[in-house]
Amino acid sequence: MNPIEIESVQQQLESFIDKDVYVHLETTNGAYASHFDDKAYNVGAYIRNAKVRFSQAKIVGNGKSYRAGLKMEFGWIYAEGLSDWTIHGDNQLLLAGHDREGRLMVSLEISEVPFRY
């Protein structure tokens, strides 16, 4: 993945507006957080291939870390801590944030076809 270029990502996000799309949204600190540090908490959530439709989409940030918000008819999809992006396959937009060791902390992905696996 490459560091987020805000104009390109904004353009990509807008290409999915008012279409039925599949979303992968995830955050995690790993399954071993409280194993290596008994004061830490294991926290994570993901939803994969949720079929949604949004009418507005925006990415905002300071050049390093970005937030993305997708406005749906009855709610929002939100991700914070995004730093990297790529286009996977034909047209799947992948956004993610990684820690110093390159471990994924947050991920927001949008596709017109379901994600594999």
Binding site: D38, D84, Y117
Partner: protein, 221 residues
């Protein structure tokens, strides 16, 4: 001597970090070893360091790494096709029956898996429980021995001294070769080795200390 050993863990790299030394020793003696790998570690958060994988390319990358590690260890590989992080939500009996079918086919004399509730990762606990159950459901006369691996911080206090304590330092290089085949997952560790050549020797000692012993409890049915 064992007839055939089946290793049952959920993630590509569990076999290398957890049992590569023990596996190498069996292979050296000519004992066939089959690895039943539960998932492709699709939800792993290590993407290489520096990152070269992403959430969507990770499964294929880890599959290739798993094949490489299996070649390094000279073992047969079967991928079970479950999804990372979801094993505990599957029907335990169904998974156990799936494993039982494979075990009845291979007819191993020994099964190596995780110790249920003492294996930290929910997938480890769930697949360990399914493996233990699969063997329980087998005809008593055909049951292989089960070695269960505990990795919680308190397993020694809870379970006592492991029944099998393998000093695998003679196979340490082979174990490292298998671990490093999982490049996306081992990169961080490899990076630390490279980062500072002065501490490399210390790191190797530390790695040997941490990875030089493989311990198992013999499951009592």
């Amino acid at each position: 001597m064992e007839k055939h050993v089946v290793v049952i863990y959920p993630h590509p790299d569990d076999e290398s970090f957890g049992a590569a030394g023990t596996i190498s020793e069996f292979r050296e003696k000519g004992v066939p070893v089959t690895y039943l790998c539960g998932t492709l570690g699709e939800m792993g958060r290590n993407m290489g360091s520096p990152t070269f994988a992403n959430r969507e390319t990770l499964p294929e990358i880890r599959k290739e790494e798993l094949i490489k590690a299996s070649e390094a260890l000279d073992i047969e590989l079967q991928m079970l096709g479950y999804r990372d992080k979801t094993l505990e939500f599957e029907d335990l009996t169904k998974v156990a029956n799936h494993l039982k079918g494979i075990l009845e086919d291979i007819k191993p004399s020994l099964v190596i898996t995780h110790y249920p509730d003492h294996a930290v990762h929910p997938d480890h606990n769930a697949l360990g429980a399914a493996a233990v159950e699969a063997v329980r459901m087998m005809d008593e006369s055909n049951r292989p021995i089960v070695w269960a691996q505990a990795i919680t911080n308190n397993y020694y206090e809870d379970l006592g001294k492991p029944d099998v304590i393998n000093d695998i330092r003679p196979y340490f290089n082979k174990k490292m070769e298998a671990i490093l085949a999982h490049k996306s997952q081992a990169d961080g560790m490899l990076g630390k080795f490279k980062e500072n050549s002065e501490i490399a020797a210390d790191m190797e000692e530390a790695a040997k200390e941490r990875l030089g012993t493989e311990q198992f409890y013999i499951w009592k049915y």
